[in-house]
């Protein structure tokens, strides 16, 4: 496929300096679309600031929670909810913020080209539009997943270090279900970033994307849990945050009935639906 189009010296030569070299162009493939999106994502400073922030809140908030739970730092008077009641959820206290940040970064990755209208150039360059969505999803995963893994593992070791120094209870990665929960948290953060991406493309607006994501992941579960009759609990367990709780906690998320695998499948289904819907939307509508 390397000779799809070869081109001659351009019109530019006479207007500026002479370039004898011909430009050889290649077939546009999914791989090249991914490479293009990778260049776009890595050349935005906000990407790296965001990733740094994800690691910072995971480690920082986890360390504070660990310190508070050992009594070496005094909790605020009404800070009863700060930190979990088991060592693992204590050191991963920052995950809520990391999830929120990842969602915002995802929505930005999906919608910012609609704000700048750059999306026209993107789709003119990659007219098979599903490739645009898939490429954005691939590079976002490629950035968020490693970041989240570094973040949760660092939060785990720093947090457990603080707990053991303060004579608190600790768990090890080799303990039953701990490694799964830690890695699961990185997966959850990545999944929310992808949900944000899908919503951003679907709604073509960073603000709406973030709004719907926060409503769906943070507000709706709490609100519905409080307002709906218990008979609907099995439905609530299918919300992204509840599904994630099934595999990010060792003990299971309270009244969640989903097991870890089912939780992961449900969350993956949410991501698939969001990305599938955004592919459908971007393919059918005018840019």
């Amino acid at each position: 496929m390397t000779t799809a189009t070869a081109t001659a010296a351009t019109a530019l030569e006479s207007t500026s300096r002479r370039t004898e070299a011909a430009t050889t162009t290649h077939r546009q493939t999914l791989g090249r679309a991914i490479r293009s999106e990778w260049i776009k994502l890595r050349t935005l400073r906000s990407t790296w600031i965001g990733m740094g922030a994800v690691i910072l809140v995971l480690v920082g908030v986890g360390a504070i929670a660990a310190a508070v739970s050992t009594g070496s730092v005094t909790a605020p008077e009404d800070g009863g909810g700060f930190g979990g009641d088991d060592p693992l959820s204590t050191v991963l206290t920052g995950a809520d913020f990391a999830v929120l940040l990842a969602g915002i970064l995802g929505a930005l990755a999906g919608a910012r080209e609609y704000g700048s209208r750059m999306i026209s150039a993107t789709i003119a360059a990659v007219p098979r539009r599903w490739q645009v969505v898939v490429s954005k999803a691939v590079v976002l995963t490629g950035v968020v997943l490693p970041t989240a893994l570094i973040g949760v593992l660092a939060a785990f070791s720093v947090g457990m270090g603080i707990l053991s120094a303060g004579d608190g209870a600790t768990v090890a990665l080799t303990d039953d279900g701990v490694l799964r929960s830690v890695l699961g948290m990185a997966g959850y953060i990545t999944a929310i970033a992808l949900l944000g991406l899908g919503l951003g493309i679907l709604l073509r607006s960073v603000a709406s994307g973030i709004g719907v994501l926060i409503a769906g992941v943070m507000i709706l579960p709490a609100l519905a849990g409080a307002l709906l009759p218990a008979s609907l609990d099995s439905v609530l367990q299918l919300l992204p945050s509840s599904a994630a709780a099934a595999f990010t906690t060792v003990t299971g998320a309270g009244d969640s009935v989903l097991d870890a695998t089912a939780g992961a499948v449900v969350l993956a289904a949410w991501v698939a639906v969001a990305l599938g819907a955004s592919i459908l939307a971007i393919t059918r509508r005018d840019v």
Binding site: T5, T7, A8, T15, R27, Q28, R32, S36, R112, D286
Partner: protein, 337 residues
């Protein structure tokens, strides 16, 4: 390297192109709600010439360009580039280079990175990007964020993006906007050369004088329909020209003599008026025959602007049905009565 040789010939030898590169519009139609933005346009935009795309704001130019690029979907009809829909092109950027909106770049990304990202879709690397940046004169600011660019610099960046993959077809929407004199002269030379190399160039602009200098062919649309699809020379030649400026102290006596079917008189000041539909010779003879004095008798040279205004005025008059050809301004009306 045979492939390179063939394609090199394609550009260097417009008489015998290796492959016919053109844009074909077939009954292209776009409807937004109950408004027809583009109403069944059929045209062929050919290689080797610059085709000027003219029409008032809202006539459907940008929508047509967006449909050619597959950004907006036609309600009916089709647009083809080199014989197939643009979205089926194996290497889209190498097929059509487009500048639709110079401001549509991510403001926090550098110019060079913007081009690198686009270039990557067809496997073009940094060397070509740097070459193109140099040729549009943006090397110095290549690492500045595109958001800091003036409109003129943004246009240069947009043109760089269009030329990146050396496409055989170029679609440029108002590329001259915001360019300084240097930039305008540069793009004029560039467009002419691109066409001479056998490329298909579709160019929209509101600047008639600029268009007259670069375009060889014209596609004029109004209210979503084609008003003219003709060569520049024919279009201007077949217009009635810009009329004739007449200045006469005997204007009141002269005006009624000139008033006839197909003749338009427009007062432009005391004792001065513009005549359309009669040659300077005929007016001179008529005045001499009646012993009327003429202080000035000057044909206005026909231009794209005058021809375009005539065309659009005709379409307005057509809509207003049977208006008398004589335009009764105050002074002339008094003279005629």
């Amino acid at each position: 390297m045979d492939v390179h040789g063939d394609l090199f010939l394609k550009h260097k030898n417009p008489e015998r192109p290796a492959r016919e590169t053109m844009i074909e519009l077939q009954q292209l139609t776009k409807r937004y709600g109950d408004k027809l933005a583009v109403d069944g346009i059929s045209a062929t935009i050919r290689p080797g010439v610059v085709t000027g795309f003219l029409g008032p704001n809202g006539a459907g130019k940008s929508t047509t360009m967006r449909m050619i690029l597959g950004l907006d979907r036609p309600t009916s009809g089709a647009a083809r580039v080199n014989g197939r829909p643009y979205i089926d092109a194996p290497a889209p950027l190498a097929e059509v280079g487009a500048l639709l909106d110079a401001k549509a770049v991510d403001s926090s990304r550098s110019a060079r990175n913007h081009l690198l990202a686009l270039a990557a879709t067809v496997g073009i690397g940094p060397r070509r990007v740097d070459d193109v940046l140099a040729s549009v004169g943006l090397t110095e600011v290549a690492h500045q964020s595109a958001g800091s660019f003036s409109l003129g610099m943004g246009q240069r960046l947009g043109i760089a993006a269009a030329l990146l993959a050396d496409p055989a077809v170029l679609i440029l929407d108002e590329p001259v906007n915001g360019l300084d004199l240097d930039g305008i002269q540069w793009i004029r030379a560039l467009l002419t050369e691109l066409a001479q190399q056998g490329r298909t160039v579709l160019l929209s602009s509101h600047l008639m004088s600029e268009m007259q200098l670069v375009a060889d062919h014209l596609l004029i649309i109004g209210q979503g329909r084609i008003l003219a699809d003709t060569s520049m020379d024919d279009f201007i030649e077949h217009s009635s020209g810009g009329g004739v400026i007449v200045a006469s102290p005997d204007a009141r006596a002269l005006a009624p003599l000139l008033a006839a079917d197909g003749v338009t008189l427009t007062s432009t000041g005391s004792g001065r008026f513009e005549v359309r539909g009669l040659t300077a010779d005929a007016i001179g003879e008529l005045a001499a025959g009646h012993g009327l004095r003429l202080h000035e008798l000057a044909p206005i040279e026909a231009s794209l602007e005058s021809a375009y205004l005539e065309l659009t005025r005709d379409s307005v008059e057509y809509a207003a049905a049977s208006q008398p050809d004589f335009t009764p301004t105050d002074e002339l009306q008094r003279a005629a009565s």
